[in-house]
Amino acid sequence: MKTTGHGLTGLLDTDAIRKDFPILDRTLHDDARLVYLDNAATSQTPTPVLDAMTGYYERHNANVHRGVHVLAEEATALYEGARDKIAAFVNAPSRDEVIFTKNASESLNLVANMLGWADEPYRVERDTEIVITEMEHHSNIVPWQLLAQRSGARLKWFGLTDDGRLDLSNIDELITERTKVVSFVLASNIMGTLNPVEDIVRRAQEVGALVVIDASQAAPHMVLDVQRLQADFVAFTGHKMCGPTGIGVLWGRQELLNDLPPFLGGGEMIETVTMNSSTYAPAPHKFEAGTPPVAEAVGLGAAVDYLTGIGMERIQAHEHALTEYALARLAEIPDLRVIGPASSADRGAAISFTLGDIHPHDVGQVLDEQGIAVRVGHHCARPVCLRYGIPATTRASFYLYSTPAEVDALAEGLEYVRNFFG
């Protein structure tokens, strides 16, 4: 008997939610209805977010800060109001700990650069070590490789177990007295793995290393509480959480932000400038050089309102039910191998797999002809592919508007792919 999606519990009212996402009504290739399962790459954007941004441009647009005219004051209030919303969303102790960047990649590069130019005791330099993991997104690998090359520090990493988890067995040799910073992903974008934050943070704190958490795939899907995480920095990105492109967030602990040097220099981040020298504004402004992404912040604020209006716990439960169902459906497909945790425990809503020796490009293309959008390739996590000896994977990833019927469409689409190339 086939597994069915009837009777799944914990699902959201997707009929209502989907009305907020005009793109989900699109048809492709003449008549196929879009089945959007590429949410780990980017999420779709609901009407309230688009309206907030258009409304900003049509009524309040001005450069922020220091203007004495009405528009400048309104724009500033909207921009800083968005900061308040993000601070509340991640339970930040202070709004001044929320820095707006252009994306998660910039957030992570910002930290790497701050630590490269920092004074003791934070400075990453020769004879110190940086620890990451083998399941990082390239955006949490390359900044540290650059820092290691440029500073002379050594880059080390956690390996992976066969079922797609971090291998913590050598944690005490990896994280040592020389370790200045440990940076790792909370939810893997390629395998969906949720990582054991506490174990890593405990060890990092023992040796006095800073902890950076890449929450790009967590912030959209679950309650994110920076105080509970006990990290020093947390990075995420707007476009994966119903927000616009062009905005990311870095949360950082206040005293660190006070002590660490700036990264980009320019307008907005200064206290006073002479030709000979400058002093810098307090955080968060110290780290926001130039005109910030004002409309994008307004959009991200609206996205956070939208998500919390539905409830992050309910979103997580919905995705969990779908993931469990999808894993069961996929297990019924011959030759399908899941890359990553096979069960839904400690797992997010991104599922990577291979299908026999059919190349993922072919899988993705034939699914696309049926209107099903998945991502294929190494998902900016090539070391994971190398680790499991595969060139690439096909990845389906769900969000709050995904439905059991879409899981069914995926499973049937994959059967069709098998026959097509069989």
């Binding site: 004051e73 206290e271 504004a281 307090p282 005109t291």
Partner: protein, 156 residues
């Protein structure tokens, strides 16, 4: 926002000029270049004089004048109550309707209620008051006090 009372103090400032004092501070607001040099003189716990020189917008100038008028001659405890009340008013973002007690306490200074609606101008109004607080702490040998510059956030 430009109440007559404010314009009056701006055009005819009270107690302007630097006279002898127990402590002197220099505060600036880098955003708009407002500056004040302010001295306090105490006789025991009585504010005997607040003298000042500075440049800046009408709000910061008028506010220093009002401060002089209000605080000189007051007992320190009372002066501090006035300063705190003024701070509360200025941080109210236009939400606070001064009640009788406040009006009695702040006299001319209640005219600044309208300024509190303009975040960019609040620090102008507070410049001399923060300087006074700082100078007083110095004069009385207390540590701490406010940081000596308001922080700036630049824009094109």
């Amino acid at each position: 926002m430009y109440q007559d009372v404010i314009l009056d103090h701006y055009k005819h400032p009270h107690g302007r000029g630097l006279r002898e004092g127990d402590a002197e501070v220099h505060h600036t607001n880098p955003t708009c270049g407002d500056e004040i040099t302010l001295r306090v003189r105490y006789a025991g716990h009585t504010v005997e004089d607040v003298s000042y020189e500075g440049q800046g917008c009408s709000i910061s100038q008028a506010s220093a004048s009002v401060l002089n008028e209000l605080l000189v001659g007051k007992e320190l405890a009372e002066a501090r109550r006035i300063q705190e009340s003024f701070l509360e008013l200025m941080q109210s973002r236009g939400q606070l309707e001064p009640d009788d007690t406040m009006e009695e306490l702040l006299e001319d200074a209640v005219a600044f209620a309208g300024v509190s609606k303009y975040p960019a101008r609040v620090k102008c109004a507070l410049l001399s008051w923060m300087a006074w607080k700082d100078a007083t702490a110095q004069a009385l040998g207390e540590t701490g006090g406010e940081p000596s510059t308001e922080k700036e956030r630049g824009a094109a």
